[in-house]
Protein backbone atom coordinates (compact mmCIF):
# COMPACT_ATOMS: atom_id res chain seq x y z
CA UNK A 1 0.00 0.00 0.00
CA UNK A 2 1.12 3.55 -0.72
CA UNK A 3 1.51 4.94 2.84
CA UNK A 4 2.20 8.45 1.53
CA UNK A 5 -1.19 8.87 -0.12
CA UNK A 6 -3.39 9.08 3.02
CA UNK A 7 -0.85 11.52 4.46
CA UNK A 8 -1.02 13.62 1.28
CA UNK A 9 -4.80 13.54 1.40
CA UNK A 10 -4.90 14.70 5.02
CA UNK A 11 -2.64 17.61 4.10
CA UNK A 12 -4.84 18.39 1.11
CA UNK A 13 -8.09 18.35 3.10
CA UNK A 14 -6.51 20.49 5.80
CA UNK A 15 -5.38 22.94 3.10
CA UNK A 16 -8.94 23.28 1.85
CA UNK A 17 -9.58 25.17 5.07
CA UNK A 18 -12.56 25.25 7.31
CA UNK A 19 -14.53 27.44 4.89
CA UNK A 20 -13.29 26.04 1.60
CA UNK A 21 -12.51 29.57 0.39
CA UNK A 22 -10.06 30.20 -2.42
CA UNK A 23 -6.45 30.71 -1.40
CA UNK A 24 -5.25 32.68 -4.40
CA UNK A 25 -6.24 35.55 -6.65
CA UNK A 26 -4.35 34.22 -9.68
CA UNK A 27 -6.11 33.95 -13.03
CA UNK A 28 -8.18 30.78 -13.16
CA UNK A 29 -7.21 28.12 -15.69
CA UNK A 30 -9.62 25.87 -17.56
CA UNK A 31 -8.46 22.63 -19.15
CA UNK A 32 -10.07 19.55 -20.66
CA UNK A 33 -6.98 17.43 -19.99
CA UNK A 34 -7.13 14.35 -17.75
CA UNK A 35 -4.86 14.18 -14.71
CA UNK A 36 -2.55 11.75 -16.56
CA UNK A 37 -2.25 14.17 -19.47
CA UNK A 38 -1.59 17.07 -17.08
CA UNK A 39 1.15 15.07 -15.33
CA UNK A 40 2.76 14.14 -18.63
CA UNK A 41 2.59 17.74 -19.82
CA UNK A 42 4.21 18.92 -16.56
CA UNK A 43 6.95 16.34 -17.03
CA UNK A 44 7.66 17.92 -20.42
CA UNK A 45 7.87 21.35 -18.82
CA UNK A 46 4.46 22.63 -19.94
CA UNK A 47 1.14 23.34 -18.29
CA UNK A 48 -2.42 24.03 -19.43
CA UNK A 49 -3.14 27.70 -20.19
CA UNK A 50 -6.81 27.65 -21.10
CA UNK A 51 -9.60 25.82 -22.88
CA UNK A 52 -9.84 27.32 -26.39
CA UNK A 53 -12.33 26.88 -29.23
CA UNK A 54 -12.88 27.77 -32.87
CA UNK A 55 -15.99 27.64 -35.03
CA UNK A 56 -17.12 28.49 -38.55
CA UNK A 57 -20.11 27.67 -40.73
CA UNK A 58 -19.87 28.40 -44.45
CA UNK A 59 -22.64 28.36 -47.05
CA UNK A 60 -22.33 25.99 -49.99
CA UNK A 61 -23.61 27.64 -53.19
CA UNK A 62 -27.11 26.71 -54.25
CA UNK A 63 -27.32 23.88 -56.74
CA UNK A 64 -23.96 22.37 -55.86
CA UNK A 65 -25.43 19.00 -54.95
CA UNK A 66 -28.03 18.77 -57.73
CA UNK A 67 -27.88 15.70 -59.95
CA UNK A 68 -25.43 16.06 -62.84
CA UNK A 69 -27.70 14.91 -65.68
CA UNK A 70 -26.09 14.68 -69.09
CA UNK A 71 -22.60 14.13 -67.67
CA UNK A 72 -20.63 10.99 -68.42
CA UNK A 73 -17.61 11.71 -66.19
CA UNK A 74 -17.42 12.57 -62.46
CA UNK A 75 -17.94 16.29 -61.85
CA UNK A 76 -15.79 18.26 -59.39
CA UNK A 77 -17.75 20.41 -56.95
CA UNK A 78 -15.37 23.25 -56.05
CA UNK A 79 -18.13 25.16 -54.26
CA UNK A 80 -18.43 22.46 -51.58
CA UNK A 81 -14.68 21.82 -51.47
CA UNK A 82 -13.82 25.50 -51.00
CA UNK A 83 -16.56 25.97 -48.40
CA UNK A 84 -15.11 23.08 -46.35
CA UNK A 85 -11.56 24.40 -46.59
CA UNK A 86 -12.77 27.91 -45.66
CA UNK A 87 -14.69 26.62 -42.62
CA UNK A 88 -11.58 24.75 -41.40
CA UNK A 89 -9.30 27.72 -42.00
CA UNK A 90 -11.61 30.17 -40.19
CA UNK A 91 -12.08 27.85 -37.21
CA UNK A 92 -8.35 27.15 -36.87
CA UNK A 93 -7.49 30.87 -37.05
CA UNK A 94 -10.06 31.68 -34.35
CA UNK A 95 -8.65 28.95 -32.13
CA UNK A 96 -5.13 30.25 -32.71
CA UNK A 97 -6.24 33.79 -31.77
CA UNK A 98 -7.75 32.49 -28.53
CA UNK A 99 -4.53 30.58 -27.80
CA UNK A 100 -2.47 33.72 -28.34
CA UNK A 101 -4.73 35.74 -26.04
CA UNK A 102 -4.27 33.04 -23.36
CA UNK A 103 -0.49 33.31 -23.78
CA UNK A 104 -0.21 29.78 -25.13
CA UNK A 105 2.46 28.45 -27.47
CA UNK A 106 0.12 25.91 -29.04
CA UNK A 107 -3.08 23.90 -28.71
CA UNK A 108 -2.99 20.13 -28.13
CA UNK A 109 -5.63 17.41 -28.21
CA UNK A 110 -7.90 19.36 -30.53
CA UNK A 111 -11.28 17.73 -30.97
CA UNK A 112 -12.56 18.26 -34.52
CA UNK A 113 -16.25 18.09 -35.44
CA UNK A 114 -17.22 18.49 -39.09
CA UNK A 115 -20.80 18.55 -40.35
CA UNK A 116 -21.81 18.78 -43.98
CA UNK A 117 -25.49 19.75 -44.08
CA UNK A 118 -27.58 20.16 -47.20
CA UNK A 119 -26.23 23.59 -48.00
CA UNK A 120 -23.62 24.46 -45.43
CA UNK A 121 -20.56 22.99 -43.79
CA UNK A 122 -19.56 23.66 -40.19
CA UNK A 123 -16.34 23.00 -38.31
CA UNK A 124 -16.14 23.12 -34.50
CA UNK A 125 -12.81 22.81 -32.66
CA UNK A 126 -11.99 22.61 -28.97
CA UNK A 127 -8.70 21.92 -27.20
CA UNK A 128 -6.35 23.08 -24.47
CA UNK A 129 -3.78 25.80 -25.03
CA UNK A 130 -0.47 25.05 -23.33
CA UNK A 131 2.40 27.22 -22.17
CA UNK A 132 5.86 26.51 -20.73
CA UNK A 133 6.23 26.36 -16.95
CA UNK A 134 9.56 28.21 -17.17
CA UNK A 135 9.89 31.42 -19.18
CA UNK A 136 13.12 30.17 -20.74
CA UNK A 137 11.22 27.53 -22.66
CA UNK A 138 9.32 30.01 -24.83
CA UNK A 139 8.80 28.78 -28.36
CA UNK A 140 10.62 30.75 -30.98
CA UNK A 141 7.74 30.54 -33.48
CA UNK A 142 5.62 33.67 -33.63
CA UNK A 143 2.39 31.81 -34.24
CA UNK A 144 1.02 29.08 -31.93
CA UNK A 145 0.65 25.60 -33.40
CA UNK A 146 -2.65 23.71 -33.52
CA UNK A 147 -2.64 19.91 -33.39
CA UNK A 148 -5.17 17.15 -32.86
CA UNK A 149 -2.46 14.97 -31.33
CA UNK A 150 -3.17 13.86 -27.76
CA UNK A 151 -0.72 14.86 -25.03
CA UNK A 152 0.66 11.31 -25.11
CA UNK A 153 1.32 11.52 -28.86
CA UNK A 154 2.73 15.04 -28.48
CA UNK A 155 5.14 13.77 -25.79
CA UNK A 156 6.19 10.82 -27.91
CA UNK A 157 6.69 13.00 -30.99
CA UNK A 158 8.81 15.50 -29.05
CA UNK A 159 10.92 12.74 -27.52
CA UNK A 160 11.62 11.43 -31.02
CA UNK A 161 12.93 14.86 -32.00
CA UNK A 162 9.90 16.15 -33.88
CA UNK A 163 7.45 18.97 -33.28
CA UNK A 164 3.94 19.83 -34.51
CA UNK A 165 3.61 22.69 -36.97
CA UNK A 166 -0.03 22.94 -37.89
CA UNK A 167 -3.31 21.10 -38.41
CA UNK A 168 -3.43 20.66 -42.17
CA UNK A 169 -6.59 19.82 -44.04
CA UNK A 170 -7.76 18.51 -47.38
CA UNK A 171 -11.17 18.13 -48.97
CA UNK A 172 -12.65 16.92 -52.23
CA UNK A 173 -16.30 16.76 -53.31
CA UNK A 174 -17.07 14.98 -56.56
CA UNK A 175 -20.49 14.15 -58.05
CA UNK A 176 -20.92 10.76 -59.69
CA UNK A 177 -22.74 11.04 -63.02
CA UNK A 178 -26.08 9.23 -63.17
CA UNK A 179 -25.91 5.90 -64.97
CA UNK A 180 -27.66 5.56 -68.31
CA UNK A 181 -30.88 3.59 -68.34
CA UNK A 182 -29.23 0.84 -70.35
CA UNK A 183 -26.49 0.46 -67.74
CA UNK A 184 -28.99 0.34 -64.91
CA UNK A 185 -31.03 -2.30 -66.71
CA UNK A 186 -28.01 -4.43 -67.59
CA UNK A 187 -26.67 -4.31 -64.03
CA UNK A 188 -29.99 -5.05 -62.41
CA UNK A 189 -29.79 -8.01 -60.00
CA UNK A 190 -26.01 -8.26 -60.51
CA UNK A 191 -23.39 -7.55 -57.86
CA UNK A 192 -20.98 -5.62 -60.07
CA UNK A 193 -18.82 -2.57 -59.53
CA UNK A 194 -20.48 0.83 -59.97
CA UNK A 195 -17.75 2.66 -61.90
CA UNK A 196 -19.38 6.10 -61.67
CA UNK A 197 -19.33 6.12 -57.85
CA UNK A 198 -15.95 4.37 -57.63
CA UNK A 199 -14.34 6.96 -59.90
CA UNK A 200 -15.99 9.84 -58.07
CA UNK A 201 -14.75 8.61 -54.67
CA UNK A 202 -11.27 8.01 -56.08
CA UNK A 203 -11.11 11.51 -57.55
CA UNK A 204 -12.40 13.07 -54.31
CA UNK A 205 -9.71 11.18 -52.41
CA UNK A 206 -6.96 12.33 -54.75
CA UNK A 207 -8.07 15.94 -54.48
CA UNK A 208 -8.35 15.81 -50.70
CA UNK A 209 -4.97 14.17 -50.09
CA UNK A 210 -3.28 16.48 -52.58
CA UNK A 211 -4.68 19.57 -50.87
CA UNK A 212 -3.56 18.32 -47.46
CA UNK A 213 -0.09 17.65 -48.85
CA UNK A 214 0.01 21.16 -50.36
CA UNK A 215 -0.89 22.54 -46.93
CA UNK A 216 2.02 20.65 -45.37
CA UNK A 217 4.42 21.89 -48.05
CA UNK A 218 3.25 25.48 -47.49
CA UNK A 219 4.28 25.10 -43.82
CA UNK A 220 7.66 23.58 -44.79
CA UNK A 221 6.68 20.37 -43.01
CA UNK A 222 8.54 17.09 -43.38
CA UNK A 223 5.33 15.08 -43.23
CA UNK A 224 1.86 14.64 -41.81
CA UNK A 225 0.95 12.24 -38.98
CA UNK A 226 -2.24 10.99 -37.39
CA UNK A 227 -4.44 11.64 -40.42
CA UNK A 228 -8.19 11.34 -39.86
CA UNK A 229 -10.37 10.57 -42.88
CA UNK A 230 -14.09 11.18 -43.26
CA UNK A 231 -15.31 9.89 -46.62
CA UNK A 232 -18.20 8.35 -48.50
CA UNK A 233 -21.39 9.42 -50.26
CA UNK A 234 -23.27 12.28 -48.56
CA UNK A 235 -26.34 11.20 -46.63
CA UNK A 236 -28.57 13.80 -48.24
CA UNK A 237 -27.08 13.55 -51.76
CA UNK A 238 -26.03 9.96 -52.40
CA UNK A 239 -24.47 10.74 -55.78
CA UNK A 240 -21.93 13.13 -54.18
CA UNK A 241 -18.75 11.56 -52.83
CA UNK A 242 -17.03 13.56 -50.10
CA UNK A 243 -13.50 13.11 -48.83
CA UNK A 244 -12.31 15.21 -45.89
CA UNK A 245 -8.95 14.61 -44.23
CA UNK A 246 -6.92 16.37 -41.57
CA UNK A 247 -3.71 15.62 -39.71
CA UNK A 248 -0.75 17.23 -38.01
CA UNK A 249 2.10 18.55 -40.14
CA UNK A 250 5.41 18.00 -38.32
CA UNK A 251 8.98 19.22 -38.55
CA UNK A 252 12.27 17.90 -37.18
CA UNK A 253 13.24 20.05 -34.20
CA UNK A 254 16.26 17.99 -33.06
CA UNK A 255 19.38 17.59 -35.17
CA UNK A 256 18.21 14.15 -36.17
CA UNK A 257 15.49 11.68 -35.37
CA UNK A 258 15.87 10.28 -31.83
CA UNK A 259 15.25 6.59 -31.29
CA UNK A 260 12.84 6.12 -28.41
CA UNK A 261 13.83 2.48 -27.90
CA UNK A 262 10.65 1.13 -26.34
CA UNK A 263 10.98 -1.70 -23.84
CA UNK A 264 9.16 -4.90 -24.61
CA UNK A 265 6.97 -6.10 -21.78
CA UNK A 266 5.10 -9.34 -21.36
CA UNK A 267 1.96 -8.69 -19.27
CA UNK A 268 1.24 -11.41 -16.74
CA UNK A 269 -2.40 -10.42 -16.27
CA UNK A 270 -3.99 -12.37 -19.12
CA UNK A 271 -7.65 -11.64 -19.47
CA UNK A 272 -10.01 -14.58 -19.36
CA UNK A 273 -13.72 -15.19 -19.40
CA UNK A 274 -14.99 -16.22 -16.02
CA UNK A 275 -17.83 -18.67 -16.35
CA UNK A 276 -19.48 -19.66 -13.11
CA UNK A 277 -21.23 -22.58 -14.80
CA UNK A 278 -17.85 -24.19 -15.60
CA UNK A 279 -16.97 -24.20 -11.89
CA UNK A 280 -20.13 -26.10 -11.14
CA UNK A 281 -19.23 -28.66 -13.80
CA UNK A 282 -22.40 -27.96 -15.84
Amino acid sequence: MNEGLPKDLRAAITALGATGAASTTARSITSDLSIDETLLLHQMGFGPADLVTGFSIVAIPYGTFLNQYGQSEPVDLPGATNATLAAFTNAIERMRDECQRAGGIGVVGVEVKVEVAGSSVSVALSGTAINPLASGQRRTKASPFVTDLSVRDYALLTRAGWGPLELVIGAGFVAAPPQRLGQVMSQARQNVELPNITLALQRAREQGMERMQQGAIAHHAAGVVDVTIIDGPLGHSHHVCAFICFGTAIELIAERHQLIEPQLILPLDDSFDFEATALRGD
Partner: protein, 297 residues
Protein backbone atom coordinates in the same frame (compact mmCIF):
# COMPACT_ATOMS: atom_id res chain seq x y z
CA UNK B 1 -6.77 2.27 12.80
CA UNK B 2 -5.81 0.83 9.43
CA UNK B 3 -7.71 1.76 6.32
CA UNK B 4 -9.21 -1.71 6.12
CA UNK B 5 -10.55 -1.59 9.67
CA UNK B 6 -11.76 1.97 9.17
CA UNK B 7 -13.77 0.80 6.16
CA UNK B 8 -15.26 -2.11 8.04
CA UNK B 9 -16.15 -0.11 11.17
CA UNK B 10 -19.44 1.39 9.94
CA UNK B 11 -20.68 -2.08 9.06
CA UNK B 12 -21.16 -2.75 12.75
CA UNK B 13 -23.53 0.21 13.01
CA UNK B 14 -25.25 -0.52 9.70
CA UNK B 15 -23.70 -1.27 6.33
CA UNK B 16 -22.76 1.71 4.23
CA UNK B 17 -23.90 2.11 0.64
CA UNK B 18 -21.91 3.42 -2.32
CA UNK B 19 -21.92 3.85 -6.08
CA UNK B 20 -18.29 2.75 -6.36
CA UNK B 21 -17.11 -0.08 -8.57
CA UNK B 22 -14.94 -2.74 -6.93
CA UNK B 23 -11.77 -1.23 -8.41
CA UNK B 24 -12.77 2.26 -7.26
CA UNK B 25 -13.56 0.94 -3.79
CA UNK B 26 -10.09 -0.62 -3.55
CA UNK B 27 -8.44 2.62 -4.68
CA UNK B 28 -10.56 4.62 -2.23
CA UNK B 29 -9.25 2.53 0.67
CA UNK B 30 -5.74 2.96 -0.70
CA UNK B 31 -6.12 6.72 -0.28
CA UNK B 32 -7.23 6.34 3.32
CA UNK B 33 -10.84 7.23 2.57
CA UNK B 34 -13.78 5.23 3.84
CA UNK B 35 -17.18 5.17 2.13
CA UNK B 36 -19.93 6.54 4.37
CA UNK B 37 -22.97 6.34 2.15
CA UNK B 38 -24.58 6.90 -1.21
CA UNK B 39 -25.79 10.50 -1.38
CA UNK B 40 -28.12 12.22 -3.79
CA UNK B 41 -29.47 15.63 -4.66
CA UNK B 42 -32.09 16.53 -7.21
CA UNK B 43 -34.06 19.52 -8.37
CA UNK B 44 -36.90 19.92 -10.84
CA UNK B 45 -37.54 23.34 -12.37
CA UNK B 46 -40.14 24.78 -14.70
CA UNK B 47 -38.64 24.91 -18.21
CA UNK B 48 -40.00 27.71 -20.37
CA UNK B 49 -38.16 28.07 -23.67
CA UNK B 50 -39.36 31.61 -24.27
CA UNK B 51 -39.30 33.20 -20.85
CA UNK B 52 -42.01 35.10 -19.00
CA UNK B 53 -43.57 37.88 -21.02
CA UNK B 54 -41.51 37.11 -24.12
CA UNK B 55 -42.69 35.82 -27.43
CA UNK B 56 -40.85 33.28 -29.52
CA UNK B 57 -38.33 35.97 -30.53
CA UNK B 58 -37.49 36.67 -26.94
CA UNK B 59 -39.18 40.03 -27.43
CA UNK B 60 -42.49 41.54 -26.37
CA UNK B 61 -43.53 42.60 -22.91
CA UNK B 62 -40.34 41.30 -21.34
CA UNK B 63 -36.84 42.71 -21.51
CA UNK B 64 -33.83 41.02 -23.12
CA UNK B 65 -30.65 41.01 -21.11
CA UNK B 66 -27.17 39.68 -21.76
CA UNK B 67 -25.67 39.17 -25.20
CA UNK B 68 -27.67 40.27 -28.23
CA UNK B 69 -26.75 41.22 -31.76
CA UNK B 70 -29.04 42.52 -34.50
CA UNK B 71 -28.70 41.93 -38.25
CA UNK B 72 -30.48 44.25 -40.66
CA UNK B 73 -31.99 43.32 -44.03
CA UNK B 74 -30.09 44.71 -47.02
CA UNK B 75 -33.03 44.30 -49.42
CA UNK B 76 -35.44 47.07 -48.43
CA UNK B 77 -39.20 46.49 -48.57
CA UNK B 78 -39.81 43.23 -50.44
CA UNK B 79 -42.94 41.57 -49.02
CA UNK B 80 -44.72 40.97 -45.74
CA UNK B 81 -43.18 37.52 -45.48
CA UNK B 82 -39.67 38.87 -45.90
CA UNK B 83 -37.68 39.00 -42.66
CA UNK B 84 -36.60 42.59 -42.11
CA UNK B 85 -34.05 41.83 -39.43
CA UNK B 86 -32.32 39.01 -37.61
CA UNK B 87 -31.40 38.69 -33.96
CA UNK B 88 -29.02 36.66 -31.82
CA UNK B 89 -30.05 36.80 -28.17
CA UNK B 90 -29.01 35.19 -24.93
CA UNK B 91 -31.73 33.17 -23.23
CA UNK B 92 -30.83 34.24 -19.71
CA UNK B 93 -34.02 32.73 -18.29
CA UNK B 94 -32.96 29.25 -19.51
CA UNK B 95 -29.43 29.74 -18.15
CA UNK B 96 -30.83 30.77 -14.75
CA UNK B 97 -33.18 27.78 -14.62
CA UNK B 98 -30.42 25.30 -15.53
CA UNK B 99 -27.89 26.79 -13.09
CA UNK B 100 -30.38 27.03 -10.21
CA UNK B 101 -31.37 23.42 -10.79
CA UNK B 102 -27.73 22.31 -10.68
CA UNK B 103 -26.99 24.46 -7.61
CA UNK B 104 -29.99 23.12 -5.68
CA UNK B 105 -29.15 19.52 -6.54
CA UNK B 106 -25.53 20.05 -5.49
CA UNK B 107 -26.52 21.71 -2.23
CA UNK B 108 -28.81 18.81 -1.33
CA UNK B 109 -26.08 16.30 -2.16
CA UNK B 110 -23.57 18.19 0.00
CA UNK B 111 -26.07 18.52 2.86
CA UNK B 112 -26.57 14.75 2.90
CA UNK B 113 -22.80 14.25 2.95
CA UNK B 114 -22.31 16.85 5.69
CA UNK B 115 -24.93 15.13 7.84
CA UNK B 116 -22.85 11.95 7.58
CA UNK B 117 -19.71 13.78 8.71
CA UNK B 118 -18.07 13.31 5.31
CA UNK B 119 -15.01 15.17 4.14
CA UNK B 120 -16.11 14.88 0.52
CA UNK B 121 -18.23 13.28 -2.17
CA UNK B 122 -16.50 11.31 -4.93
CA UNK B 123 -17.65 9.53 -8.10
CA UNK B 124 -20.44 12.01 -8.80
CA UNK B 125 -22.69 11.01 -11.68
CA UNK B 126 -25.26 13.41 -13.07
CA UNK B 127 -28.51 12.87 -14.90
CA UNK B 128 -30.53 15.53 -16.68
CA UNK B 129 -33.91 15.05 -18.23
CA UNK B 130 -36.49 17.28 -19.87
CA UNK B 131 -40.05 16.15 -19.15
CA UNK B 132 -41.92 17.48 -22.16
CA UNK B 133 -45.34 16.42 -20.89
CA UNK B 134 -45.02 18.65 -17.81
CA UNK B 135 -42.61 21.24 -19.22
CA UNK B 136 -40.17 20.52 -16.40
CA UNK B 137 -36.43 19.97 -16.27
CA UNK B 138 -34.82 17.59 -13.79
CA UNK B 139 -31.23 17.65 -12.56
CA UNK B 140 -30.04 14.76 -10.39
CA UNK B 141 -26.60 14.20 -8.85
CA UNK B 142 -25.51 10.92 -7.23
CA UNK B 143 -22.24 10.24 -5.46
CA UNK B 144 -20.51 8.49 -2.59
CA UNK B 145 -19.78 10.38 0.62
CA UNK B 146 -16.36 9.53 2.06
CA UNK B 147 -14.65 10.15 5.38
CA UNK B 148 -11.01 10.46 6.34
CA UNK B 149 -9.79 9.51 9.80
CA UNK B 150 -7.50 11.92 11.60
CA UNK B 151 -8.88 15.05 9.92
CA UNK B 152 -11.85 17.18 10.91
CA UNK B 153 -14.31 17.30 8.01
CA UNK B 154 -14.32 20.68 6.26
CA UNK B 155 -17.43 22.78 6.80
CA UNK B 156 -18.28 22.21 3.14
CA UNK B 157 -17.33 18.73 1.94
CA UNK B 158 -15.49 18.69 -1.39
CA UNK B 159 -17.26 17.30 -4.46
CA UNK B 160 -15.71 15.68 -7.52
CA UNK B 161 -16.60 13.61 -10.56
CA UNK B 162 -13.34 11.68 -10.03
CA UNK B 163 -12.94 8.38 -8.20
CA UNK B 164 -10.51 5.48 -7.97
CA UNK B 165 -7.01 5.77 -9.39
CA UNK B 166 -7.76 9.10 -11.14
CA UNK B 167 -8.69 10.65 -7.79
CA UNK B 168 -5.56 9.22 -6.17
CA UNK B 169 -3.26 10.51 -8.92
CA UNK B 170 -4.81 13.97 -8.59
CA UNK B 171 -3.88 14.01 -4.89
CA UNK B 172 -0.39 12.61 -5.55
CA UNK B 173 0.13 15.29 -8.19
CA UNK B 174 -0.47 17.99 -5.58
CA UNK B 175 -4.08 18.94 -6.34
CA UNK B 176 -7.18 18.62 -4.17
CA UNK B 177 -10.75 18.80 -5.49
CA UNK B 178 -12.81 21.71 -4.21
CA UNK B 179 -16.17 21.32 -5.94
CA UNK B 180 -17.92 20.38 -9.14
CA UNK B 181 -18.77 23.42 -11.23
CA UNK B 182 -21.03 24.10 -14.18
CA UNK B 183 -21.89 26.97 -16.48
CA UNK B 184 -24.33 27.21 -19.37
CA UNK B 185 -24.97 29.67 -22.16
CA UNK B 186 -28.10 29.51 -24.31
CA UNK B 187 -28.29 31.53 -27.52
CA UNK B 188 -31.40 31.88 -29.64
CA UNK B 189 -31.04 32.76 -33.32
CA UNK B 190 -33.82 34.50 -35.20
CA UNK B 191 -32.38 34.20 -38.68
CA UNK B 192 -32.17 37.28 -40.85
CA UNK B 193 -33.27 36.99 -44.48
CA UNK B 194 -29.64 36.62 -45.60
CA UNK B 195 -28.93 33.90 -43.02
CA UNK B 196 -32.12 32.09 -43.95
CA UNK B 197 -31.19 32.09 -47.65
CA UNK B 198 -27.60 31.07 -46.94
CA UNK B 199 -28.84 28.11 -44.89
CA UNK B 200 -30.95 27.05 -47.85
CA UNK B 201 -27.95 27.38 -50.10
CA UNK B 202 -29.97 29.76 -52.21
CA UNK B 203 -28.58 32.57 -54.33
CA UNK B 204 -25.68 33.34 -56.57
CA UNK B 205 -22.02 33.25 -55.71
CA UNK B 206 -19.36 35.91 -55.84
CA UNK B 207 -21.54 38.88 -54.95
CA UNK B 208 -20.71 41.16 -52.08
CA UNK B 209 -23.33 42.71 -49.85
CA UNK B 210 -23.09 45.99 -51.75
CA UNK B 211 -23.97 44.35 -55.05
CA UNK B 212 -26.64 42.11 -53.63
CA UNK B 213 -30.21 42.16 -54.84
CA UNK B 214 -33.18 40.16 -53.57
CA UNK B 215 -32.51 36.47 -54.08
CA UNK B 216 -28.78 36.85 -54.70
CA UNK B 217 -27.05 35.63 -51.58
CA UNK B 218 -23.30 35.72 -51.02
CA UNK B 219 -21.39 32.50 -50.65
CA UNK B 220 -18.99 32.38 -47.75
CA UNK B 221 -19.31 32.31 -44.00
CA UNK B 222 -22.78 32.48 -42.45
CA UNK B 223 -21.88 35.32 -40.13
CA UNK B 224 -24.94 35.36 -37.90
CA UNK B 225 -24.73 31.69 -36.95
CA UNK B 226 -20.95 31.71 -36.67
CA UNK B 227 -21.23 34.66 -34.25
CA UNK B 228 -23.94 32.88 -32.24
CA UNK B 229 -21.82 29.71 -31.93
CA UNK B 230 -18.73 31.71 -30.95
CA UNK B 231 -20.76 33.73 -28.41
CA UNK B 232 -22.14 30.52 -26.85
CA UNK B 233 -18.62 29.11 -26.39
CA UNK B 234 -17.21 32.39 -25.15
CA UNK B 235 -20.04 33.20 -22.72
CA UNK B 236 -19.99 29.79 -21.08
CA UNK B 237 -16.29 30.16 -20.28
CA UNK B 238 -16.78 33.74 -19.05
CA UNK B 239 -19.56 32.58 -16.77
CA UNK B 240 -17.56 29.70 -15.32
CA UNK B 241 -14.30 31.55 -14.67
CA UNK B 242 -15.55 33.65 -11.70
CA UNK B 243 -16.69 30.42 -10.00
CA UNK B 244 -13.09 29.20 -9.92
CA UNK B 245 -11.76 31.99 -7.63
CA UNK B 246 -8.23 31.53 -8.92
CA UNK B 247 -8.35 27.71 -8.90
CA UNK B 248 -8.16 25.36 -11.89
CA UNK B 249 -11.01 23.71 -13.78
CA UNK B 250 -9.76 20.19 -14.27
CA UNK B 251 -10.99 17.66 -16.83
CA UNK B 252 -13.43 20.13 -18.33
CA UNK B 253 -16.18 18.85 -20.57
CA UNK B 254 -17.57 21.30 -23.13
CA UNK B 255 -20.83 20.17 -24.69
CA UNK B 256 -22.34 22.28 -27.45
CA UNK B 257 -25.66 21.27 -28.93
CA UNK B 258 -27.82 22.97 -31.49
CA UNK B 259 -31.39 22.22 -32.43
CA UNK B 260 -33.40 23.70 -35.24
CA UNK B 261 -36.52 25.74 -34.76
CA UNK B 262 -38.71 27.69 -37.18
CA UNK B 263 -36.77 30.85 -36.27
CA UNK B 264 -33.29 29.41 -36.66
CA UNK B 265 -30.81 27.35 -34.64
CA UNK B 266 -31.05 27.34 -30.84
CA UNK B 267 -27.62 26.79 -29.33
CA UNK B 268 -26.67 25.63 -25.84
CA UNK B 269 -23.11 25.31 -24.52
CA UNK B 270 -22.47 23.59 -21.19
CA UNK B 271 -19.06 23.60 -19.51
CA UNK B 272 -18.46 21.53 -16.42
CA UNK B 273 -15.67 19.89 -14.51
CA UNK B 274 -14.02 19.67 -11.11
CA UNK B 275 -12.54 22.82 -9.59
CA UNK B 276 -9.19 21.79 -8.11
CA UNK B 277 -6.65 23.62 -5.97
CA UNK B 278 -2.91 23.08 -5.82
CA UNK B 279 -2.11 22.31 -2.15
CA UNK B 280 1.61 21.76 -2.55
CA UNK B 281 4.32 22.40 -5.10
CA UNK B 282 4.20 20.19 -8.11
CA UNK B 283 6.76 17.37 -8.13
CA UNK B 284 7.47 16.35 -11.73
CA UNK B 285 7.18 12.66 -12.48
CA UNK B 286 10.11 10.76 -13.98
CA UNK B 287 10.04 10.59 -17.78
CA UNK B 288 7.72 7.69 -18.55
CA UNK B 289 9.35 4.70 -20.24
CA UNK B 290 7.87 3.75 -23.63
CA UNK B 291 6.76 0.14 -23.69
CA UNK B 292 5.36 -2.29 -26.20
CA UNK B 293 3.01 -4.91 -24.82
CA UNK B 294 3.54 -8.39 -26.19
CA UNK B 295 0.05 -9.78 -26.45
CA UNK B 296 -1.47 -12.61 -28.43
CA UNK B 297 -4.22 -10.60 -30.07
Amino acid sequence: MTNATAASAPIAAGAWTSGLSTAEFAATLEAGLTPLGFVQGCSVVNWNFYGFGLNSLGLGGGQLSGYSEQYSCPHGIVSNEHRRYGLNYEKTWLERAYKSSFAAAKERLVNEARAMGACGVIDIVERTEYHSESGAFEFTLNGTAVGLSGVAPPSTPFTTYLAGQRFNRLIEAGFVPVEITLAISAIGVYSSCVTEYQLRGAGATGLGFGQMSYGAIPAGEITQITNAEIAARSLVREQLRPQLHGDILHGALLKVRSHESAEGPQIEAILQGTRVRQYRDFAPIAPPRPVIRLVDR
